[in-house]
């Protein structure tokens, strides 16, 4: 079935290393997206017409452009048009942060506008000032809504980073292909075993995170 290739040499370790590259890129992108997303999401609730117009165009671009197209534009387009030579990793991080920031800002905006006006009014009636209202009433609620959603964003980011092999980053799929090529003679069925393993590796990486997100969402629902 081709699973025996995994036990040869350090093939399994190489696969895990490849998954590590994908995880590394996605975690950096998630960290950037969360910071920028919170800032942009907060700006979007200010109802400034200019900010609103820009952010709507931005969100629509991200909504309809496949991430792969964005990757190509940044990786090949930037070099050609602007003459900057970006490494594949940097362009991947730029693209996934661009995408993640849009997703995150939409979540932040949703969470902020989902808080009833009555919360602000009651806090004021209790004699809190603006700062106290935000720190003791509004922000704790937002954090509870946002944490499960941002954890969910991590799994989506990990899944999306599998695309980086298309711009030549050596991540888990590429390593898998290399192993298959190297063992073409000795185990011709390696493709089945390797790709099944990668399939399971991704599942093992993402499933616990999405379970955690679901659990927290249920726990904090009330």
């Amino acid at each position: 079935m081709g699973f025996e290739v995994l036990l040869k040499g350090n093939n399994m370790l190489r696969l895990l290393g490849g998954l590590g590259v994908a995880m590394y890129i996605s975690l950096i992108s998630v960290a950037i997206s969360i910071v920028l997303g919170i800032i942009l999401g907060a700006l979007m609730t200010l109802k400034n017409p200019v900010i609103n117009a820009i952010s709507r165009v931005y969100l629509e671009i991200v909504r309809i452009m496949p991430q792969m197209v964005l990757l190509f534009i940044v990786y090949f387009g930037a070099t050609k048009v602007l003459g900057i030579n970006l490494s594949a990793e940097i362009s991947a991080i730029i693209v996934f942060s661009f995408w993640g920031t849009a997703e995150m800002s939409d979540l932040v905006r949703g969470a902020l506008s989902g808080i009833d006006k009555i919360q602000y009014e009651s806090s004021m009636a209790l004699g809190m000032n603006t700062r106290q209202t935000y720190f003791h009433v509004i922000i704790p609620q937002i954090i509870r809504r946002l944490i499960p959603l941002s954890i969910n964003l991590i799994t989506r980011m990990i899944k999306t980073t599998s695309l980086v092999m298309m711009i030549g980053i050596v991540e888990v799929l590429k390593v898998g292909q290399q192993i298959i090529e190297a063992n073409r003679k000795s185990s011709p069925n390696a493709a089945f075993g390797i790709f099944a393993t990668i399939f399971l590796l991704y599942f093992i990486a993402c499933y616990p995170i999405s379970c955690l997100s679901k659990y927290l969402e249920k726990k904090w629902e009330k």
Binding site: M65, Q67, V69, I73, L163, A191, F192, I198, Y202
Partner: protein, 219 residues
């Protein structure tokens, strides 16, 4: 920008565009079918089947389409199951989409308040009538936003097909860049074609969402 180049490439892009749309919508039709059936199985808690559906949904929701396609296209032939690239794309998209659609339809079904069921039973409706005239219309309305989001997501995911050498938009662009180095023109055309493919769906989706929102009970 060289417009002659664009004119020359147009037929190639158009062919790829049609192929992308064809496979995309076949995949989406498959995913809707799988989604509705699986959601019913989960909602009615049919013993063995619902366990299978749960495993299927979790497996496909937590793995990238690219990995699924590689497994189906390069892995399965090794154990004797050979599928053409086009069928592989449609099936892969259908399976991935099916798992997302299942979740959307199921959450729609579950979100209909229990009081609706109880009131209908109190009014003397039969189980079948209750389901077709009370639960389903509301469940459908509740799941529209999620389904529209899934549609756009799935159409975007078609860009991954180029990895299994299906001649889609992405593949054509990559191929032409590799052959003639007209990077700017190729990328601009790629973006334009994706906008043509997805912008109508996005606008229509928002419109349908708005139209169905007030059909909800209480509005």
């Amino acid at each position: 920008m060289n417009f002659e180049v664009i004119r020359d490439y147009l037929p190639l892009y158009f062919k790829a565009f049609l192929l992308t749309i064809k496979i995309g919508w076949i995949g989406i039709a498959l995913s809707l079918g799988i989604g509705v059936i699986s959601a019913f199985i989960l909602h009615f808690k049919i013993p063995v089947l619902s366990a299978i559906v749960k495993v299927y949904v979790e497996l496909f929701r937590n793995t990238p389409l690219l990995v699924q396609l590689f497994f189906v296209y390069f892995g399965l032939p090794k154990i004797g199951i050979s599928i053409s690239a086009e069928a592989c794309g449609a099936i892969g998209l259908g399976l991935l989409g099916g798992s997302y659609m299942t979740e959307s339809f199921r959450s729609g079904l579950d979100a209909v308040p229990l009081s609706q069921t109880e009131s209908s039973l109190a009014l003397g409706m039969t189980k079948g009538r209750l389901f077709t005239s009370v639960i389903l219309p509301q469940a459908f309305t509740l799941s529209v936003p999620a389904v529209v989001a899934n549609l756009i997501f799935l159409l975007k995911e078609t860009s991954v097909f180029s990895a299994i050498s299906l001649m889609d938009l992405m593949f054509t662009a990559k191929d032409l860049i590799g052959l003639y180095y007209n990077t700017t023109e190729c990328l601009v055309m790629l973006v334009v074609f994706y906008v043509i493919m997805l912008l109508p769906v996005s606008i229509l989706g928002s419109f349908v969402e708005k139209k169905t929102r007030f059909k909800m009970f209480g509005n």
